[in-house]
């Protein structure tokens, strides 16, 4: 492919990452043995467990790459990668802190004021402070630049916010929303201008969190309504009007991690137990095919972690990984179904039947959240020089 922007250098081997991997594995084995959690599919959306998040914070496994002065641990993205993929592979309950650790913290580090960083980052790293993504709105999905939530300065220099954000995962358990708002009237000639990010405390008056249940009845999503909510003037994140640029940077973190191909890994693990028991050639071949796809995605994701360590912002490769990875997450269900004779049911006596059910009921989300695969392919097409 030569000079296009999709390829990244191979990830360096990291002995430190392999060391912390062993520590996480031992921790997870002990937690599982003690019954502190049970393995589920897609736990980075549905597995909210603040006590578990605090344990990870105590171990130094949140805010891993951040400066120590903000409660971080100054470790590499490769080490953080190892920790996150071990947690996901175990189906551990990581949803409470996931967004804060993955993208809100790095966003604050990059664009936050000294006061914002000092106040909030140590709490995120301790596993005590959770964030939601305030991007999508009822009328703005893939077309993010069309958002209508407005923030205007009042006489005290504070922001008065009106509008609504949707698909805000776990807002009912979270403390802050980094909220993309319009701070200047929409300019048809430059749709990306006039947008800003606000750091919004969800406990402020004028903010209501209403549940939106996903199709299996689970409560993860919410609608966050702003009705003349007054956000202090110093809670602007970064620069007024630079919201679009900041959101784009945030998405490189949001799109590239192992959660973009491991959401259904617990189903693969359960299927592997069946294949080991049955020793059926077709099942073994399916396990091999799925594993080969997973291993390729893992290498791609590791390369992105390596690029983040070099200070790059690989937004186009991140879009590619998320497209290929989330397609894989859903394909796992179809591939497994072709070679086992197990109906999917949450009430199944067979753990494989339960894993299939959990994976299937969450499947529509995989290729939507964080940018639909159609949007992602558009970004990849730009990387190919077609746009």
């Amino acid at each position: 492919m030569g000079s296009n922007s999709l390829t990244l250098a191979p990830a360096p081997r990291s002995a430190a990452a392999e060391e912390v991997r062993v520590e996480v594995r031992e921790f997870l084995a002990a937690e599982l043995a003690a019954g502190s959690f049970t393995t589920h599919v897609d736990t980075w959306l549905s597995g909210v467990d603040p006590a578990f998040s605090r344990k990870l914070g105590e171990r130094g496994w949140l805010g891993m790459t951040w400066p120590k002065q903000y409660g971080g641990h100054e470790r590499t993205a490769m080490e953080r990668y190892a920790v996150t993929e071990e947690l996901l592979a175990a189906g551990a309950p990581v949803a409470a802190h996931w967004i804060a650790d993955r993208q809100s913290g790095p966003n604050l580090l990059r664009y936050g004021t000294e006061a914002q960083r000092a106040e909030i980052l140590p709490r995120i790293a301790a596993g005590e402070c959770y964030f939601v993504i305030g991007m999508s709105e009822p009328d703005s999905g893939s077309d993010l630049a069309s958002i209508r939530t407005r923030a205007t300065r009042n006489g005290d220099g504070d922001w008065v916010v009106n509008g609504a954000k949707v698909w805000t995962s776990n807002a009912h358990h979270s403390h802050y929303a980094i909220t993309l708002v319009r701070t200047a009237p929409a300019d048809p000639a430059n749709r990306h201008a006039g947008l800003s990010q606000l750091l919004v405390d969800l406990s402020l008056p004028g903010i209501t969190v209403n549940p939106i249940r996903i199709l299996d009845g689970g409560h993860h999503f919410n609608e966050v309504v702003f009705d003349d909510a007054v956000v202090p003037g110093d809670m602007l994140l970064g620069e007024e009007g630079a919201g679009w640029h900041q959101v784009t940077a945030e998405l490189a973190f949001e799109r590239s991690g192992p959660e973009r191909f491991l959401s259904t890994y617990p189903l693969i693990a359960e299927f592997a137990r069946r294949a080991a028991e049955d020793q059926d050639p077709a099942q073994l071949a399916t396990l091999g095919r799925l594993s080969a796809r997973l291993l390729a995605l893992r290498q791609l994701s590791l390369r992105i972690a390596g690029a983040l360590d070099r200070g790059e912002l690989p937004d186009i490769p991140a879009a590619l990984v998320k497209d290929v990875g989330t397609t894989f997450e859903a394909d796992v269900i179809d591939e497994v179904r072709r070679v086992v004779d197990v109906p999917a049911s949450l009430d199944s006596p067979d753990p494989l039947g339960r894993a299939l059910a959990e994976a299937q009921l969450h499947a529509p989300g995989y290729t939507l959240r964080g940018g639909t695969n159609e949007i992602l392919r558009g970004i990849v097409a730009r990387g190919l020089g077609l746009r």
């Binding site: 492919m1 030569g2 999709l6 390829t7 191979p10 991997r21 594995r25 993929e85 592979a89 175990a90 890994y265 693969i268 693990a269 592997a272 137990r273 294949a275 080991a276 028991e277 050639p281 099942q283 073994l284 071949a285 399916t286 396990l287 091999g288 095919r289 594993s291 080969a292 796809r293 997973l294 291993l295 390729a296 995605l297 893992r298 290498q299 791609l300 390369r303 490769p317 590619l320 497209d323 290929v324 159609e374 992602l376 392919r377 558009g378 990849v380 097409a381 990387g383 190919l384 020089g385 077609l386 746009r387």
Partner: protein, 355 residues
């Protein structure tokens, strides 16, 4: 030659390739002898093989780069077999490497038995009998590394096949894949362990994966280029979202294959266990052919379906290479079973170790 010379090596190969356009292979003209001579003259048929054994020196990465550049150029020469499979296997078995100027290929299929002519446990003399099938470059290669069976285990034997009769068969791209009948042929050979024999098969699979990765990258590049040039409805094809989605899907496949194949090659360089990494690379590369070749032809339209257009030189090779040196299904079973070797609950640790 050092690893830092990889770019230079690739440049040299590409420079030579400009003088040798791919052509339709036939029984009468089954390979590009002129290209082989040019490559041999430049020392490129010995890259990665040690100088003291008659090779050109350099690392595995250099050999992989040469093989990749030739695969992307649809070069009809047995370089992948010589540099990545047969050459290293012959040396590892303690046999004498033939001159890199004389094409050396590999035969792992069929039924060839080896009877020892002496009782040494080092390299020795064997009598080979049987038929080697699906032999890459049968009738073209001067020497053949044959994986045979013997009463005491697998044997790798080096056979001079000059003047020996081969049956003609070809893969979907016309590359020779005939059979060779051996009737009490005396050859130098060495006993391998079963694990070594499996590693040889895995190296062969990895060589095909390296070729596939390079060829798929080239197919993507051609398709992107074509979509930028071909105008319909008053604009280039690449301006249509429907086409952009297809090209992005191709790019996803190609990039995933490249990442895994590169990682598998690096695992070999580090001397790590080869079989699962090679199996994964072969399975992933083979699976990508389905998507990439289909969409490349779809975007190219009818012209890409013709013999006059260059696209078939690579898509036909890809359709064959995914089946050769073990099909995806065969290697997927090896991979699946291998990942469960430490027990039904140990899949994840096995995955994080595999590549």
């Amino acid at each position: 030659m050092t690893s830092s010379d990889v770019d230079l090596v690739v440049e040299t190969v590409r420079d030579i390739l400009t003088k040798f356009e791919p052509f339709v292979l036939t029984a009468e003209r089954p390979w590009d002898a002129g290209l082989w001579s040019a490559l041999a003259e430049a020392g490129l048929t010995g890259v990665g093989l040690p100088e003291e054994a008659g090779g050109s020196g350099g690392e595995l990465a250099d050999a992989v780069a040469v093989v990749g550049a030739l695969a992307a150029g649809a070069a009809a020469v047995p370089v992948a077999e010589q540099l990545l499979v047969a050459g290293p296997a012959v040396l590892a078995a303690g046999l004498d490497l033939p001159s890199p100027d004389e094409p050396l290929s590999i035969a792992v299929d069929g039924a060839v038995t080896a009877e020892p002519r002496d009782d040494g446990d080092g390299p020795g003399s064997w009598t080979l009998t049987g038929t080697a099938t699906d032999v890459a470059w049968a009738g073209v290669a001067r020497h053949l590394a044959v994986l045979a069976t013997s009463p005491v285990g697998p044997v790798l034997a080096l056979v001079d096949v000059t003047g020996r009769e081969t049956t003609h068969a070809a893969n979907l791209a016309g590359e020779p894949r005939g059979s060779l009948v051996l009737q009490e042929v005396t050859a130098a050979g060495a006993l391998l362990t079963d694990a070594q024999a499996q590693q040889l098969r895995a190296r062969y699979a990895l060589a095909r994966a390296v070729q596939l990765s390079a060829a798929l990258q080239q197919v993507l590049a051609w398709t992107v280029q074509y979509a930028g040039e071909r105008q319909q409805f008053g604009r280039p094809l690449g301006r249509f979202q429907a086409i952009q989605m297809e090209l992005a899907e191709m790019a996803g496949e190609v990039t995933a294959v490249a990442a895994l194949v590169d990682a598998a090659v690096q695992a070999v360089e580090r001397g790590e266990s080869l079989v699962l990494a090679a199996a994964a690379a072969k399975v992933r590369a083979g699976a990508a052919v389905e998507v990439v070749a289909r969409l490349a032809h779809q975007v190219h339209g009818a012209i890409g379906f013709t013999q006059e257009h260059r696209l078939h030189h690579l898509t036909r090779r890809c359709w064959s290479w995914r089946d050769e040196a073990g099909t995806e299904t065969a290697w997927a079973r090896v991979l699946g079973a291998g990942l469960l070797a430490d027990g039904p609950d140990a899949l994840w640790p096995a995955l994080t170790r595999a590549v």
